[in-house]
């Protein structure tokens, strides 16, 4: 088929407009919602526990539970619009990490003997999952996992008196990356 240069230019313009619109749709289905949710939860929990960990132990657990329910709701909502194939190997790897992290290592290490250590340990396990996600999917998860793990370790090992400030920075990293993914990614 033969077309004029003007028709070709119009077609390319339509293509670019469609691509731009679809990129905006895709951007709504990246991981930014999860990062905003868990970054906020992490910041709130860090502030509460930094203030008085014994007093807010139950509260932070309820906040975390609410976060898990909200995560499930986001998953259901996003899968109604844009779906990826569920990679069962990825789920199996993450499941293995969590089982070993929460079920095996505490016994091997002889237990976790302080609330701060327990909190740091739990967050490090999740950052392992983020690293795996970054290897499997988009690499911003990898960088979040590495950076936040470094912050948690630095706070726990080097600056124990300011651990909750480092934990709050970890939550802020999630939150900030969520904005980056929403506004700038792809």
């Amino acid at each position: 088929m033969n077309i004029s240069q003007e028709e070709a230019a119009n077609a390319l313009g339509e293509i670019e407009a469609s691509r731009t619109a679809m990129r905006a749709v895709i951007r709504n289905h990246r991981g930014h919602l999860y990062l905003w949710l868990w970054g906020s939860i992490w910041i709130v929990n860090s502030l509460l526990n930094g203030w008085s960990s014994a007093r807010f132990w139950n509260t932070t657990n309820w906040i975390t539970l609410a976060g898990l329910l909200a995560t499930a709701a986001i998953i259901v909502m996003q899968r109604r619009q844009v779906r990826s194939r569920l990679d069962r190997r990825f789920v199996a790897v993450c499941g293995t990490l969590l089982v070993f992290g929460y079920g095996v290592w505490p016994f091997v290490l002889g237990g976790i003997h302080s609330y701060t250590a327990a909190y740091a340990f739990g967050m490090l396990i999740w950052m392992q999952v983020y690293v795996v996600a970054g290897i499997w999917f988009d690499n911003y998860w990898l960088w979040i996992g590495l950076v936040v793990a470094a912050l948690i370790l630095a706070g726990f090992l080097l600056f124990p008196g300011a651990f909750w400030a480092f934990s709050l920075l970890g939550g802020a990293t999630l939150l900030g990356t969520g904005f980056y993914v929403r506004l700038c990614w792809r």
Binding site: I15, S18, M22, I26, Q81, V82
Partner: protein
């Protein structure tokens, strides 16, 4: 020499292919979401998707979500290649003096 693909060059199908090729290879988009994004009617989009599916350029998957029928659309590797070739043909025409 690149050739224009008549199956893709129709304006609505051009927009459909351009949109679908933005997805990752393992991603697919809901029919209603695609329809709203492209500003097409159900019948219009359905007819164009049938044409593209017949050429092997897209895959249409019908499933149920919360007991409601849902249709998801994705581009095939052949469709992605055909669209890329079509875009290159358009750019070649534009580059002619």
């Amino acid at each position: 020499m690149e050739f224009l693909d008549p199956a893709i060059h129709q304006p609505a199908r051009l927009k459909i292919m351009a949109a679908l090729c933005q997805l990752k290879p393992d991603e697919r988009v809901d029919f209603s979401y695609l329809k709203d994004n492209l500003g097409l009617t159900d019948g219009n989009l359905g007819a164009h998707l049938s044409t593209l599916e017949g050429k092997g350029y897209i895959a249409v998957e019908k499933t149920f979500v919360a007991r409601r029928p849902k249709t998801f659309v994705s581009v095939t590797p052949e469709g992605r290649q055909a669209f890329t070739s079509h875009v290159q043909a358009l750019q070649a025409i534009l580059a002619q003096k």
